[in-house]
Symmetry: C2
């Protein structure tokens, strides 16, 4: 059931042992939302804890201050920035069907939770910002850093068209509350490891164009990981590159998994809805940024994606 932000705040107030779930392959927005909400609930004297199916990438060490999260038996389960239960990864079996409250901004949210606050925001952290204010918790520097991280990462540093006046206004407030925007953006966007720089170079060298150059595809193979020492989690910044060439309307980044299967990140502009393209292969996401998985080889996935793009670009 979809609920209002007021109802969401009331539900949070009514519970004391709150488990917060983030999505697998965690990004800045799910983590920022989870940690900010957890800190706020702890400040209210509640017990709260954030969990994630996967390890938190080390680049976040520099922006999310660590803090003690208590152990307890949860009586309320909240998922943040999680559009479908399977995005919970290994936590899906245990929690997929027992999420009490989902706070999300993905239009493709499958309404799997008992209550859903679906906000048309550029980042889940925008919504969490308002929830925390309505909970009456003072936003300190640590919370501001969490929220700023989520907002800046989900908007490509305020670059994507999803960024609104509200996004900028919240950013202004977070910076005045102490968010260290310079450092966060430097760590999130300006720091490439030498391994990443090497795999980026290989990726750019192998860039291919289809559909009269309106589709750009970058492929990242296991061989490329091995050659450069880069890991999959290092390569998040590759996907936006596919959409940057003049005339490209669909940018696809296909990453080979160790088992030979693959996943694809989709980036588009207005002419193609990325979530539609993703959905036709069982995936989902936003209008200009989505993802899907394939139980086949990179080459086969590429052929299927190109065929679908041809159809959508007609």
């Amino acid at each position: 059931m979809k609920i209002s932000i007021e109802k969401c705040v009331q539900s949070l107030k009514e519970h004391d042992n709150i488990l917060i779930l983030t999505h697998a392959h965690p990004d800045g927005d799910t983590l920022g939302a989870g940690f900010a909400l957890c800190r706020a609930l702890l400040k209210l004297g509640k017990k709260a804890r954030v969990i994630c199916a996967d390890e938190i990438p080390s680049k976040f060490d520099g922006v999310f201050e660590s803090f003690e999260m208590p152990e307890f038996e949860e009586d309320y389960v909240v998922a943040v920035d999680v559009g479908t239960p399977n995005l919970l990864g290994d936590l899906c079996d245990k929690y997929g069907s027992r999420v009490d409250l989902c706070i999300d901004h993905h239009k493709s949210n499958t309404e799997y939770a008992k209550e859903l606050l679906l906000d048309d925001a550029a980042a889940a952290c925008e919504t969490i910002f308002e929830i925390i204010k309505m909970l009456g918790v003072e936003i300190d520097k640590a919370i501001a850093d969490c929220l700023f991280t989520g907002i800046t990462t989900d908007t490509g540093c305020f670059r994507y068209a999803s960024t609104t006046a509200r996004t900028f206004a919240i950013a202004a407030e977070l910076v005045s509350l102490g968010a260290d925007n310079g450092t966060i953006n430097r760590v999130m966007f300006e720091t490439k490891t030498k391994q990443y720089a090497a795999i980026e170079r290989l990726a750019l060298e192998g860039m291919q164009f289809f559909c009269d150059d309106r589709v750009c595809i970058i492929t990242i193979t296991q061989e490329m990981y091995n050659k450069t020492g880069a890991q999959e989690q290092d390569t998040e910044a590759i996907a936006p590159l596919t959409r940057q060439i003049e005339g490209v309307e669909v940018g696809l980044t296909i990453k080979e998994k160790p088992n030979g299967e693959c996943k694809c990140s989709i980036r588009t502009f207005e002419s193609v809805d990325a979530s539609v393209l993703a959905a036709s292969f069982g995936g989902g996401g936003h209008k200009q940024a989505s993802a899907c998985r394939f139980e086949c080889s990179v080459e086969e996935a590429k052929a299927r994606l190109v065929a679908k793009c041809e159809e959508l670009l007609k």
Copy 2:
């Protein structure tokens, strides 16, 4: 003489035939500031015109709506975002010594104008935003687009540490006044021509490291322009790449001129003041982004820059 923003606004009010100078090799900030101020002055019923020594790069066609600027005999000359007279380029001879008012945010401003409004802002357009409000002119969509363009380009799309709560607050207001942030950022940051993509690839391939990998240098030669079809004005986006590798504290981009001389863009983090490095070769700019020119070959410039970096990094 340094003046306050109130005095600056008063001076603008007192004159009716105002010529606005932008710096040579114009960027989004000098052009956005110039065009926004010009539009505001025209709305007040004054005569105003923007001029620039160099051609305006075509990428700005998509963001600055063209408008008619009257011809007239100027009785007041304003320079925006111009730190030193020589940055006026070919306009320096005629106007360098007769600038009545300079509105700038470069700490290295040489106070060459009769009156200087030096604002510690992330972009000159932040200051122009406040001036226009104080002039009592309503900010329409066209003005908002100009100002947003200047702010986003001078902050690397809100990425640099120079971005403040004030920057975000002004951006929020400009977007709510109609600035098309999605399109502007797409054109400014997300669109690479194939020529640019090709020269970027060559540039990355030739990246060199010095001073225990704390200095990264990219060199762009005339041969690389010829090979890829890219032009110098296309390569603005290269400089930030030098600073993105983990551990790099000074990023240098040396571009060869047709006459064999060269210029260098300097990008740094906190440990080195870019304007100090630039000043030791007669250049200037900001703490984390500066530039200088050399009347020698790329290789000689590189040697001199590395020697100076070694000294500054000690």
